[in-house]
């Protein structure tokens, strides 16, 4: 397989179809306000690793077990179980192998278990490839998982940085906190809309 479509897929997943800013998945953690910049980076990177592994696993399970058995209806159930156990195993492995790294990223792993971005990545891995409109291959599923994770990290870091600034802003009282966060997310999302070359708008308006 040549690298062109994969590169296109990554750019699409990171920027054009950014999971947070244009698909509105995984917004809940942005509202939590619990993160500072280094925390956001740690959370994003752990999410990226888990999403890449989860995408590949989801593809393998779907094509190896569920499709031959004609049991596609179990997809959601199986993916959720795989991801919950994946995060638990990852946390335990990290604790044994690298306690220092665990100290920094370990707290985020259990949170990822029920995070919609990871499940969304797994579900995307078994859908059609948005670039070629054909079923994903194992490689493209993996690349899509990585790229979606990078897109998530990008959105998370941008949002946290904006929120840190907003803490000192003089906003009208009803807009403080969450509404301000959503407004800035909206502005970011508007900026990301530029990546799509506005063909989204043409599609809806026509």
């Amino acid at each position: 397989m040549n690298a062109g479509p994969l590169l296109e897929l990554s750019v699409a997943s990171i920027l054009v179809n950014n999971i947070v800013l244009s698909r509105c998945i995984g917004v809940c953690p942005l509202c939590g306000a619990a993160y500072k910049l280094p925390g956001a980076l740690g959370m994003g990177l752990s999410a990226t690793v888990v999403m890449a592994i989860a995408s590949a696993l989801a593809w393998i399970i779907d094509h190896g077990i569920l499709l031959p058995l004609r049991a596609e209806y179990l997809q959601i159930f199986v993916f959720v179980m795989v991801i919950v156990s994946l995060t638990l195993i990852a946390e335990m492995a990290l604790q044994k192998l690298s306690p220092a790294l665990h100290e920094r990223t370990g707290v985020y792993l259990p949170m990822l278990a029920s995070n919609c971005v990871v499940i969304a990545a797994a579900l995307m891995a078994v859908q059609a490839n948005p670039i070629t409109n054909r079923p994903m291959t194992l490689v493209s599923a993996f690349v899509n998982g990585c790229a979606t994770g990078v897109g998530y990290t990008l959105a998370l870091v941008l949002m946290v940085a904006i929120r840190e600034r907003l803490e000192y802003a003089e906003l009208p009282r009803p807009l403080r906190g969450l509404p301000a966060a959503f407004l800035s997310a909206g502005l970011l999302s508007l900026a990301f809309l530029g990546f799509s070359g506005f063909h989204i708008l043409k599609g809806i308006g026509g």
């Binding site: 959720v80 969450l178 909206g186």
Partner: protein, 199 residues
């Protein structure tokens, strides 16, 4: 449960406005009111079923594995909702897309399961699910009304202002963020006004 508690559950304690739980669907599927209604119906059904199931099994499940078990219960109902929608209404299944399976990990449902159903009797949990579900529906309808009215100049698919070019950006993701911010701001404003009246 009195009428006052009912109203408080829907407005003063609204899960979406108050603590921003379950905002993913509130943002993603509110481009038209019909989508928002179908989505809230599905979320409400899954919420009621999973609250009931979690509450019934609350004494059978060990504390330590409580959360994974709750996730599995919710996932089972979400899968059912997904299959039902796919079978009964392929149109809405296509329109709501990936967000229907994502009900399985909706933080609102998980929150109600762990914070309420795991500690209360089945009937109370069912009532809680209904109140929270209605609150969620109200939030989704408020957002989708703004987005459909200004983004498409229509309500429930009926053109309200024909012959003009609507604000298409409102039907995209950024419109979702803006309209939710607007609704939240209004909500905060009225809640603050109400607080002042009491004081």
């Amino acid at each position: 449960m009195t009428a006052g508690e009912f109203g408080r559950g829907i407005f003063a304690q609204n899960p979406v406005f108050r603590v921003a739980l379950g905002v993913c669907p509130a943002l993603a599927v509110t481009a038209t009111m019909a989508d928002a209604l179908v989505m809230s119906g599905l979320v409400m059904a899954v919420l009621a079923a999973s609250n009931l199931a979690v509450s019934i099994t609350r004494n059978l499940i060990a504390q330590r594995v409580r959360i994974p078990c709750q996730i599995l219960i919710i996932t089972a109902f979400a899968s059912m909702a997904n299959m039902l929608l796919l079978n009964r209404s392929p149109h809405f299944s296509a329109a709501l897309g990936i967000y229907v399976p994502l009900i399985a990990v909706n933080c609102l449902i998980l929150n109600r399961a762990d914070a309420f159903a795991a500690k209360n009797k089945p009937i109370a949990s069912l009532l809680d699910a209904i109140v929270v579900g209605i609150g969620f529906t109200v939030a989704l309808l408020a957002c989708s009304m703004i987005r459909e009215l200004f983004g498409n100049f229509s309500l429930m698919g009926q053109k309200v202002i024909p012959g003009h070019q609507p604000f298409l950006a409102l039907t995209t993701a950024c419109g979702a963020f803006f309209s939710l911010a607007f609704v939240l701001g209004l909500y905060n404003y009225f809640m603050a006004q109400k607080g002042k009246e009491k004081a």
